[in-house]
């Protein structure tokens, strides 16, 4: 028996919808090349076979929402040489971080018949709040090409080419007509990190901010522009508080304009 010297990849899941892991499965053709280049040692979504750690590269999806998650992420960090978080849940807390703005006990009593069985943390938080993370790949879900780029970069020992500028650059490169300027449609593109290829403006929709804040996000200026255009504070808050509601400055800008948070 020869020793398998291919780098070992593990894929882990925390509180999430599985969409980001599915992006990896969605790499149909490329996955064959991935499987050649690396040993997929732990990926329950794809295979029941699991090889013990340590792992060269761990991809972590989902946010930390329970005390058990907290223990598990520390174990995973301990057996991972490189740890990359993937998706809005893992990098910003995800849509479930909306509960950070409410009383979790109240939610539980409404949703569950026996809330006493639920053991949950008060806040849904990103992985990097708890363990050191080597790279955060944004997106809800992550972009398949970007995911391959990150895996590829780590395999080849080079920095991943993942830009952190605004969606507008991608929007203009694809020659989309700006929906804010030409239609008056609110768009989060100017404050959102590129990565999706400006899908929504490409179909004359405003950007929903799936990839979280770009590296110099002037969210307050955009919020003021929408208020001037007649949107209410509650509407502004709702736009900023979606998948990346836990990421600054989406978090604070949304809060500042939410009438339920005033005072």
């Amino acid at each position: 028996m020869t020793l398998d010297r291919r780098p070992r990849l593990a894929v882990w899941k925390f509180a999430s919808c599985d969409g980001c892991q599915l992006s990896l499965l969605d790499c149909e053709d490329e996955l064959l090349a991935v499987a050649d280049a690396i040993e997929i040692a732990h990926f329950p979504e794809a295979s029941r076979r699991s090889v013990e750690g340590p792992y060269d590269l761990s991809l972590v999806e989902g946010s930390i929402t329970t005390p058990r998650d907290l223990e598990r992420i520390r174990e995973i960090r301990g057996i991972s040489r490189t740890l990359v978080t993937i998706g809005a849940c893992a990098t910003a807390g995800g849509i479930q971080a909306l509960r950070n703005y409410a009383d979790i006990k109240e939610y539980m009593s409404i949703v569950y018949a026996h809330p006493e069985y639920i053991d949950v943390l008060a806040r849904a938080t990103p992985i990097a709040d708890h363990v050191p993370v080597d790279f955060e790949l944004r997106g809800c879900p992550v972009n398949k090409q970007q995911l391959l780029e990150v895996v590829n970069a780590f395999l080849n020992g080079r920095p991943p080419a993942i830009p952190n500028y605004s969606v507008c650059l991608e929007c203009k490169r694809r020659a989309a007509v700006c929906v804010m300027v030409a239609h008056g449609t609110p768009c989060l593109g100017p404050v959102t990190q590129a990565g999706c290829g400006a899908i929504c403006p490409g179909f004359t929709r405003g950007c929903y901010g799936c990839f979280g804040p770009q590296d110099t996000p002037n969210t307050e200026s955009l919020a003021q522009a929408w208020l001037r255009a007649g949107k209410s504070g509650a509407e502004v808050a709702r736009v900023f508080h979606t998948f990346n509601c836990g990421a600054e400055p989406f978090a604070s800008t949304g809060k500042r304009h939410d009438p339920n948070h005033q005072g």
Binding site: C168, L169, K172, V177, V181, A182, P190, V191
Partner: protein, 376 residues
């Protein structure tokens, strides 16, 4: 020598068909998603007949006209640079071999283009990019290959938009050079086009379609059309001593004020017909046997643009806005001997926040910190 001719609407159709018949891909104005953009056209019927536009800072709307005019719009959100200096381009690939690696050029013969409806400001912008990308110490072979054989049919502006200021920048509204043919659309008493010949290729093309020599009255009407445009300029810039004005006001409080509004989204540089900056990305395949070098449009509004060893030089938005405006109007002169702005107004219309370069300049001049813009 006769240089001014008249063709009919059908004549224009025949002219486009001739160009196409010569194996050229026609790029011209089309209506898409609520704007007039430049895209491949098959002929006369694709042109935006009866469409105009209304532009303001941060606002663009199409407007229906009842005269069937084909060229009665102003700046498009798209600059022609897309076709000469593409937004994304693979430059080369490298393949690993036993004895090292081999570089494979990715350059493919670019399509043979004809640009239909280029405005005076954009002709100047193309000349500026020629200077930057072909006539400097480093020559961009990709730009040069696309630029060399392009055929340019210019369209003289008969009206100016609210965000236009080519007259201030001395780049319009009347185009006098840089085209093969230039048309002025005349709507009365009948729909026809006055054509000026700017090159041998233009003359040869014209000789292949029905045309007649233009009379004095037609020429006067054509000149009047551009004079009307001049009178309509929606914006103005005082360019006197503009270089010293900007250099002398690097610490002006206005930069910080504008930074409160600026989204650092980079739209202004993406739409600007003279902005040329690019970034390089290297990619590898999963096995590490092939590498690819890709170039795409970049902007001084991104933080990575000024990333050098140790960090980002222009961390704040104020320094990025200042870099952009100062490059356009001051350091461009030191670098390339001309202004870097042609007054097309795109950066004003397509800034989601409606930041207006002419207003910024006016404020800085009005509150000139140390008399930097005054005559010595």
């Amino acid at each position: 020598m006769e240089n001014r001719f008249l063709i009919t609407l059908e004549g224009l159709g025949a002219l486009l068909a001739e160009l196409k018949g010569m194996g050229r891909t026609l790029i011209g104005p089309v209506v898409r998603d609520g704007a007039i953009v430049y895209d491949e056209i098959t002929g006369l019927r694709d042109l935006p007949a009866g469409w105009g536009d209304v532009q303001e800072a941060g606002r663009y709307r199409l407007e229906k006209r009842d005269d069937g005019a084909l060229f009665a719009y102003n700046s498009s959100p798209m600059a022609w640079k897309r076709f000469l200096h593409p937004p994304a381009l693979t430059l080369w690939k490298a393949r690993r071999r036993d004895d090292g690696f081999r570089i494979e050029s990715e350059a493919q013969a670019p399509p043979l283009h004809a640009f239909i409806g280029v405005r005076a400001c954009d002709l100047r912008a193309i000349a500026i990019q020629d200077r930057v990308l072909m006539e400097d110490r480093f020559r961009d072979p990709h730009y040069a290959a696309r630029r060399r054989d392009v055929f340019i049919l210019a369209a003289q502006c008969a009206q100016a938009g609210n965000t236009c200021f080519c007259a201030s920048m001395d780049s319009g509204p009347r185009a006098t050079q840089g085209f093969d043919l230039a048309l002025t659309e005349l709507l009365h008493p009948e729909h026809r086009f006055l054509l000026e010949v700017g090159s041998e290729a233009g003359g040869r093309l014209l000789s292949r379609v029905p045309h007649q020599v233009a009379g004095e009255a037609d020429w006067a009407a054509a000149l009047q059309a551009t004079e009307n445009a001049r009178a309509q300029m929606g914006r103005h810039v005082d360019t006197r001593n503009i270089k010293t004005l900007l250099y002398g006001n690097a610490e002006h409080p206005r930069w910080e004020e504008t930074a409160q509004r600026c989204l650092a989204c980079a739209n202004c540089t993406m739409v600007c017909p003279t902005c040329f900056c690019t970034a390089i990305e290297d990619h590898t395949d999963l096995e590490g046997s092939e590498a690819r070098r890709v170039r795409h449009w970049d902007s001084c509004f991104t933080s990575q643009f000024s990333h050098i060893h140790g960090g980002v030089v222009r961390a704040g938005i104020a320094s990025r806005y200042r870099q952009w405006l100062t490059h356009k109007l001051a350091s461009w002169q030191d670098q390339f001997g001309t202004l870097g702005c042609v007054g097309c107004g795109r950066c004003i219309s397509w800034c989601p926040e409606g930041i207006d370069i002419t207003e910024e300049l006016a404020v800085i001049r009005a509150q000139d910190q140390n008399g930097a813009g005054e005559d010595a």
